[in-house]
């Protein structure tokens, strides 16, 4: 028999289902949550509910937003003729932290990965092609992670973009090969942006 009530064990299971949280950590989180004052606990629950209700994808760039068009796409001071293509929203956050980039983004939400059965149609490539078709775009900067799948995805998209009158570049290899963009430091990201090269 467990020493704890079922609703506690359920909570531990839920925490343990999160990435990187083991059973011991999940138990600690559950104890912590239950020890919170009612107000703080409700505020935690509301934050989850509110995020789940309001966060969706920008209809232009596919980044996370709480309105139809995200804050970056709807900012008139951003250069919408330069599109930086990234695998996920974490990469947008990383590049924004560098304060070096003034264009807009396109979030693929994944990379082409035959081993995981993720093909070109499973990520948001056609939305990118539609943007380039429908709007004046000068440059598309490929900023997928510098690993095999990211590179494959970048080359695939670069080939699709060949018929268009658009410069296709990619981030310079200032980023250590194999490292996830999310963990790159600001200076490395700045150098990588400055040194971007034609495909």
């Amino acid at each position: 028999m467990s020493a704890f009530p079922p609703s506690f064990e359920t909570l531990v299971e839920k925490f343990a289902s999160l990435p990187g949280i083991g059973v011991k950590s999940a138990q600690r989180l559950a104890f912590h949550f239950l020890s919170l004052p009612d107000e703080a606990a409700q505020s935690f629950i509301s934050a989850l509910q509110e995020a789940k209700n309001s966060v969706r994808y920008c209809k232009v760039c596919q980044n996370l937003t709480d309105s139809d068009v995200c804050a970056i796409c709807s900012n008139p001071r951003r250069d919408d003729r330069t599109i930086c293509v990234v695998a996920d929203p974490k990469a947008v956050a990383a590049i924004e932290r560098s304060h070096e980039y003034n264009g807009v983004y396109h979030v693929l939400h994944g990379v082409i990965s035959p081993l995981s059965h993720i093909g070109p149609d499973d990520i948001r490539i056609k939305e990118l092609i539609a943007r380039v078709t429908e709007h004046d775009v000068d440059e598309v900067i490929m900023a997928t992670n510098p690993d095999t799948e990211g590179e494959t995805t970048a080359r695939y998209i670069a080939r699709l973009l060949q018929p268009f009158n658009v410069r296709v570049t990619r981030l310079a290899y200032g980023i250590p090969v194999g490292m996830s963009l999310e963990y790159a430091d600001d200076l490395t990201l700045i150098r990588a942006l400055e040194g971007r090269q034609a495909f």
Copy 2:
């Protein structure tokens, strides 16, 4: 400007307020949560709400429960004349896992810690004294952690219990089973020698 909507950032903050979760982990948890199907996300939220609503303290032993009296205290096969005093519910879970103990518990919810301004009245000592006063208790086993604060708390409680006709014991100190002697610290070795037992 953040690359993400405010409700996402709020969610990251909430996750980051949990013990042992840094900002990067919190962001990963928030992305994971938002990527859950609606049903799974709602089930996560319900588990938090349900636990917060239903989990309270057993009015006898102060352990977590979802009824007035916990499953251990209300089990007629447990020996309620033996009370094991622990600092927190995690210790109850650890002792229950051993399947060796058939008495009941008393959870203090903390230890006396002058440095953290936690005095005897801030933990559930008076509830223990009330139990010993009002019921027939043969033995109180002190099972606080074997550190300075746990030891201080155990000694304090042992002194309070002196006027009662009750045996006060504490868990044996010694070498952990399976541990090599060469890695035992000096204090543990001294305690193990002091507590040596006849074969």
